[in-house]
């Protein structure tokens, strides 16, 4: 195995460990000390891979975005364009959050609250990802307008903002309140949002 492949493997292990930490403790918990203990390396060993904790945080965001893309965005592309694809995306999104264990709970969302009043590269990166995700959702909504399912005059910004709200409420209900009703409540809210967007409905 080449030295480069070994380095890549170690880097992946570090990011996997960082991902497990951020899911439980947020970005504030991803410190060099915590990470070094978890992967069984010295802090100086970590420095061979990442020059600062900020570099870890930025790589972690890219890593989480990759997981999100392969678990949520890509599988939904199998569904037909328009409403089926929008529904598949929303369903995968809710599923991802509710998954027990470390790979769930959308670590980036906790970051929205951690970095709302702080400046810097981590905030900028989180913001860029969230803007891209909302753009993706808006495109799915626009496609559902184009296929004739949703009203032509639908305000897609408003739709996406309300959809994100339903998602955040689901996240809090499922993972913080741990309510057994969280999924049913979210699906009912999503149904209402979709129905109100459809052609021929009052709005």
């Amino acid at each position: 195995m080449s030295a480069q492949r070994l380095t890549q493997g170690t880097r992946s292990l570090i990011l996997q460990a960082a991902f497990e930490i951020v899911c439980v403790y947020g970005f504030a918990g991803v410190t060099l000390g915590h990470l070094a203990r978890k992967v069984g390396m010295s802090k100086s060993g970590l420095f061979a891979h990442f020059k600062s904790i900020e570099q870890v945080h930025l790589a972690l965001i890219a890593y989480a975005v990759d997981v999100f893309r392969s678990d949520v965005i890509l599988p939904a592309l199998d569904a037909d364009e328009g409403l089926p694809r929008l529904e598949a995306t929303m369903s995968k999104w809710l599923e991802w959050t509710a998954r027990p264990g470390t790979f769930g709970g959308s670590p980036l969302i906790a970051g929205f609250f951690e970095f709302d009043d702080r400046e810097g590269a981590v905030r900028d990166s989180l913001l860029e990802q969230e803007v891209a995700w909302r753009d993706h959702l808006r495109q799915l909504v626009a496609a559902t307008v184009a296929t004739g399912t949703f009203r032509q005059d639908l305000n897609s910004e408003q739709f996406v903002s309300e959809l994100c709200g339903i998602y955040y409420s689901f996240h809090v209900s499922a993972r913080f309140l741990r309510s057994p009703e969280s999924r049913a409540t979210a699906l009912l809210a999503v149904d209402g949002l979709l129905n109100r967007a459809e052609v021929g409905t009052r709005h």
Copy 2:
């Protein structure tokens, strides 16, 4: 001034500093070291007032709840029972979050994401406060049903969950995305939620 009043005054100063920290850095940022630097005391000086950082976090939750009560819950009681009081509460809630500076951004909400996968007294206290707040919102909804404005068959759990979602989305939009449209978007979503709950509307 008595020794007890001096102690109370110092305790308030410490909690005020902790509140300013939590608004920006979350609970993870409220460490004994950070707090000692901010109030200009030694860590051992802090220990005379709080036996552990967990005690600080618990006192901070109680402090934030007091601020929330006097800024949001109590002023809304001036409005008439039913829809006016529900609307006044929602309006004060949104206003509180959007306020620039330290007294805004509902520090407890960041805690929902920080403590979703962690156990302990801080989580338990945050949970208790959130359950109480949702109970308060449900009572306001029930009163709006009782005054005949909202439908008798309204699902108040669902209503409160969707309202919280609108609030979380507003919080992210105003404080993380820093969108100038955040308030208008939230008010439009709230209007829709209220209209759908009213007597004589389709649901």
